[in-house]
Structure formats: C-alpha cells, structure tokens
C-alpha cells in the first residue's frame, strides 16, 4: 500500500513537469495547428538560462534560501524563454503561416536543431551541474515520502496552471485565443489582432516550458543540451492523451502519463520507461486519437 502510494506521488510529480511543457504544445497546436518541435528545446533553454542566472548571482544568493532564489530565477527565466518563443514564431513560423504543412514541420525541426546545437556551441556539449539544488527535508504521508522541494514545485506548477486556465477562460485575451483556434480568418474580419494573439500564445507557452526547465535543473541537479528532446516527446504524448488543443486535457493527459510511467517503471524497470511511454502514445493514437477530452475534429477543405 505504501509502495503504491509512493508510485502515485511520483507519478503526480512527474506529471506536473510534463503538464507545464504539454500546455505550451497544446496551446500552440490549438491556435495555429502547428507542432512546435522546438518546444522541448525551449524547456532546455529555460534550464540553461536559470543556470546562467544562478551562476552569475551565486554570490548574492549564497546566504538566502534556495527556494526563494529559485523562484526569482524562475520568473526571469520565464521572461527570457517567453521572448525566445516570441522571436522563434516571428522569424521561423510566421513567414510560413500559409505554406504547406510539411514546410512548417520541417522548419520546426530546424528550429529545434538550431536551439539544441546553439546551446551546445554556447555552453559546451557536456552536462552542467546546477548551482542550486533543492534537497532539504521530506514529509511522510501515510508511509510515502515526498520532499519539500517537490511540494513547492508542484505548488508553483499548480499556481501557473490555474493562472493560465483563468487567463484563457476569463479574460479578453483568452477569448481571442479561443476564437482564433476556432476560425482565424473570421477573427481577422472581426478585428482581432491575430498576429499579436499568436505571439502572446507563444510567449506564454514558452514561459511555462522555461519554468519547467528551471525546475528540472534544480530537481535533477544536471542539465544538458539534449534534455528537451525526450521531454518534448513526452509532452506531446501527454497532449495527445488529453486531447491536443485542449488546455485542461493537456494537464489531465500529463498526469495520466506521469502515473502510467510511474507504474510502468515499477513493473518493467526504468530502462523501459521511455519505450513504455511512446508505445502508449502509439496505442492511444490507434484507439482514441482525439484524446480523453478532445472532440472529434473534422478537417474542412
């Protein structure tokens, strides 16, 4: 029983990571039907921006509490990755908005490649140790162990997700986003500034991924330039499970995937974790391609 609870907690924790990345994937896909392959690399970039900030500011932070410093750094990293996402959309994706889908997909692969190896050139190809790691105590809940750091991170992630949900459902800007996802051309006619809303979407999605990147760095204590590759795939899997384009679905899918992985790892061993997740993606696409919360999408010609 303790063991099962521990697995559930681990799954929830990993799920919140995936959710932060999956949200950006799902938002961008929902609005302009683009699979942003570079999204995982934005997460990686978040990790590296956090690394740089923590290294530069290590003197100032030496005395302060790790968590507070981390939150500040995370906020700055979110702004930085948000801007990168904005620039990426402007430079790489916007010129191709009316181009065939294949062109855009290839561009996205190119963007992912450029970000990965840009960081490899800048920081060197070897993994970097994170200057701040969050260790500290742990609480025991019915025999399962969860660290304070994990709790704080989950809390931050949940706050961010609620913020996003409110933004999308309750504000003008969110309404514009939802409108564009339904019919961008009609939005243009109704006076919605479509380009601006798309830029904003990229900013928000990238900022969330950046936050996840800093968390991952602090939690695992190590970052490298390819760390966004697998997480990008997992986030996509999560988005598909939940129903791609659906924001609440992305969170649900991420948690489902986290739990599945947690139990799958316990069952098959950790070396099969990624295989298990992707096999599940393929299975899901076969059985229910619209996801748990997705509605049937009909392609209009």
């Amino acid at each position: 029983m303790d063991y099962v609870l521990q697995l559930i907690l681990n799954g929830l924790f990993v799920g919140t990571f995936y959710a932060l990345v999956a949200l950006g994937y799902s938002m961008v896909y929902g609005i302009i039907k683009l699979l942003n392959f570079a999204h995982g690399d934005i997460y990686m970039l978040g990790g590296f921006v956090g690394f740089t900030l923590l290294t530069v500011g290590s003197g100032a932070l030496a005395g302060g509490g790790g968590i507070i410093a981390l939150v500040v750094v995370m906020a700055l990293a979110m702004v930085a990755t948000g801007l990168v996402g904005l620039v990426l959309e402007r430079v790489a994706y916007r010129p191709l908005r009316s181009a065939p889908r294949l062109s855009v997909l290839i561009t996205a692969v190119g963007a992912s490649f450029a970000l990965e190896y840009g960081v490899a050139v800048g920081y060197g190809p070897n993994p970097r140790a994170y200057p701040v790691t969050v260790g500290g105590g742990a609480v025991h809940l019915l025999g399962a162990r969860i660290t304070y750091a994990q709790l704080v991170m989950m809390a931050i992630a949940v706050i961010l997700m609620f913020g996003l949900d409110t933004l999308v459902r309750r504000t003008r800007s969110g309404r514009a986003m939802r409108a564009i996802s339904q019919d961008p051309r009609a939005c243009l006619l109704m006076g919605v500034n479509v380009d601006q809303v798309i830029s904003r979407t990229f900013f928000i999605g990238s900022a969330l991924a950046g936050a996840a990147g800093v968390m991952a760095g602090a939690y695992y204590g190590k970052i490298d330039f390819l760390m966004g590759f697998i997480i990008g795939l997992k986030a996509f899997t999560a988005a598909v499970i939940g129903g791609i384009g659906n924001i609440r679905g992305a969170v649900l899918g991420a948690i489902v995937l986290g739990l599945l992985e947690s139990f799958g790892t316990a069952w098959l061993g950790s070396q099969w974790r990624d295989v298990f997740a992707f096999a599940f993606l393929i299975l899901f696409l076969t059985v229910r391609p619209t996801g748990l919360l997705g509605e049937r999408v009909t392609e209009r010609v």
Binding site: L96, P100, S103, I106, Y117, A120, L233, F278, V301
Partner: protein, 375 residues
C-alpha cells in the same frame, strides 16, 4: 488496416484503372496528360522550357550513366582505405536519402525516425549473421520482412491521422528502436554486435568488394526510386502530397498509397542498414540516434524534395562535408538547423527542384507564382 469510418471504394483497389491515373497526370501538370517516355534516365530530359545548358547536361541520362560508371570505377582510380571508407559511407547515405525521399519528397509524409528502419536492417542482418551464422546475403529477405513489419506497426495507426501525428510518432519510434536495442541482451546491449561478416571472398580486398557491392545496390536503389516516382504510384503519391482531400475525392485510396510510400521507404532503409552493418562490421545503438534521422531529412530537404538527382547531390554534400570540415561538430549542426529554416522560407523546392515529366509544361501553363514543389 481498414477503417470503417472513412469512405473506401468497395473493391479496395488501389487506383481505379484509366481515368484516375489520367486525372492525376492532368491535375499534377494542370494540362492534358502528355507523358515523357519511360526510362529516359534518372531525371526526365527537360526540353524547351529554359533550363540552362549546364542543367540540361546534368539532367541527361548519359550524365547519370557517367556518374554510375565513375562510382563503380573508383577503386581503380584510388583504392586507398580512407577513400573507400568515406565513399562507401557516402553511398549508404545516398541510399537512405533516396529512401526517405520516397516518404517525404514524393508522398509528403514527414518521417523523423527514419534511422529506426536503418537500425532494424542493420540489427537483423547483424544478429542473423553473427549469432545464427547466416551468410549476409541470406539475411536480406529477413531484413525486408522486418522492415515491412516495422512499417506496418508504425504506419497502420498513424497514416490515417493528420501527417503531423506521423512526424512525432516516427520520432518516438526511432527512440523505441534505439532504446530497445540498448536494453536487450540479444542485441548486445550498449556494446552492440560485432564481427559481422562481409559478403564473401571474391578475390579482391574486402573493402573493395564491399564498396562494389554497395555501389551496385545503391545505383539500383536510386534508379528504382526515380522510376517509382514517375510511375502511376508515384503520381498518386504526388497528388496525395499536394492535396490529400482532392486525391481521396478522386478515388485514390490515400491510406493505401501513403502506406505504400511508407513501407517502400522502410525497405530502402532496412537494406541500407545491411550495407552499413557489413561496412562497419560492428554496430551499436548510438549509431542510430535522432541525429541520423535529422541528417537524412536535411539531405532530402536541401537537395530538393521529390527530385532524385537533387536528393543524391544533397546526400553527397551532407555526408562528405564533415570530412572536409572536421572538428566543429556543434557549429555544423547549428548551421544545418538554421539552413533548414532558411531553405523552407526562401527556397522550399530545394537546391535542385523536381521538374515535371511533361517537357513543355512550364511554357504552356498559365502564370503561377507558386514554386513547383511546394510541399
């Protein structure tokens, strides 16, 4: 394999005879069908619509013949071990690129895990020849079967969905194959397989034999893929690429046609894997990572999607350039990534675009600002 929710023609035939293929031709070129005679070389001779004399020379069948002769004669010109090694590598890369060109270039399906089929081929050949002692030639049918099975497993669920899903599922599949090879005992785990035999003793140096075998297989593959692209199936592929819904409406069984492209690509990849296993004599999981898939895609995109000569040139450039620019690996990949974006924005048809089969089509067509190959 059949999805009841999608409209299918009841007989399940791939293409209803006559009218559909004529329609494909007519739509593709926006004019009455007028097809160049088959078998005029690697690329159809383009007459009368303004290619430069240089491009006419390189597009002629004799140029292709000259290249093949040159490739076969290479060991007589320079039989140094280094030359042969990089030449064999380059040829294998050409084979991968023309195979991926069938999937991405002809049919417009983005496969980001093409190295998976390469790995399947290499591991099947390696495993059967080392552990079970088969001669390498005898493993080829098994490799084809395994590649087709791999194509089925991935293609069957995803080809029915939007092409975006295929891209990311193939990405996942590439990882599954690599991780599986890394985890299983029978594939040698992280160490991989070694001591893979060569094709046999023909009285030449072993690397010369391997080179010749590779040159012949790759030449055949290039010709086969070029001809596939110009046949009826090839025209159906292009139609699906340009407008899947219109193709479906015109009676093309798009699922089957896409499947054919995907499985063809898988077989090319698997066979290239056999050549790779023999050439390297040892294979291990890191040889089949995402970087490979990305580089092959780069060759196809850079050379010109759907254009066989373009893809061959692209593959040679991508595989030989690192030999000239040793060292700055990460810079190179950074440049490749940026190049992909730049090519897609400014020259989506690639360096050497596909020219339509119909000789005078460009001259007779109404003004069309779109580039010929837009996918």
């Amino acid at each position: 394999m059949t999805d009841p929710s999608l409209p299918r023609d009841p007989a399940g035939t791939q293409l209803p005879p006559e009218e559909s293929s004529a329609y494909v031709r007519a739509v593709e070129t926006k004019q009455p069908a007028n097809v160049a005679p088959a078998g005029t070389g690697l690329t159809p001779a383009a007459k009368g619509h303004g290619p430069t004399s240089a491009s006419r020379v390189v597009s002629s069948p004799w140029f292709a013949v000259a290249i093949v002769v040159l490739a076969i004669a290479l060991p007589f010109i320079d039989s140094g071990a280094y030359t042969l090694r990089i030449a064999t590598d380059a040829l294998i890369f050409v084979m991968l690129a023309v195979g991926l060109n069938v999937v991405v270039g002809y049919c417009g399906l983005l496969d980001l895990g093409y190295a998976a089929f390469f790995a399947i081929g290499a591991y099947t050949a390696g495993l059967l020849s080392t552990t079970f002692g088969w001669p390498i030639i005898a493993t080829i049918p098994a490799v084809v079967v395994m590649a087709v099975v791999g194509g089925l497993v991935i293609g069957a669920p995803t080809l029915r969905l939007r092409s975006d899903y295929l891209a990311i599922v193939t990405l996942g599949f590439g990882e599954i194959i690599r991780i599986t090879a890394n985890n299983l005992d029978i594939t040698g785990g992280p160490n991989g397989l070694f001591g893979i035999p060569d094709f046999g003793d023909f009285g030449y140096r072993s690397d010369v034999t391997i080179y010749w075998f590779t040159a012949v297989v790759v030449s055949l593959a290039v010709i086969a893929s070029s001809r596939l692209g110009r046949g009826r199936l090839g025209r159906a592929w292009r139609f699906v690429r340009e407008d899947e819904d219109a193709a479906e409406a015109m009676g093309i069984h798009t699922y089957k046609v896409k499947f054919a492209a995907y499985v063809t690509g898988a077989i090319f990849g698997g066979l290239a894997g056999v050549l790779f296993a023999v050439h390297q004599t040892a294979i291990s999981p890191p040889s089949f990572n995402f970087l490979w898939s990305a580089l092959i895609l780069m060759a196809v995109v850079l050379g010109g999607m759907g254009s066989t000569p373009g893809v061959v040139v692209g593959a040679l450039v991508i595989s030989l350039l690192p030999e000239l620019l040793r060292g700055a690996e990460n810079w190179r990949y950074l440049v490749f990534g940026v190049l992909l974006i730049v090519v897609m924005i400014f020259r989506p048809q690639g360096i050497w675009p596909h020219t339509p089969s119909e000789p005078a089509s460009a001259a007779r067509r109404e003004p069309d600002p779109q580039p010929e190959v837009t996918a």
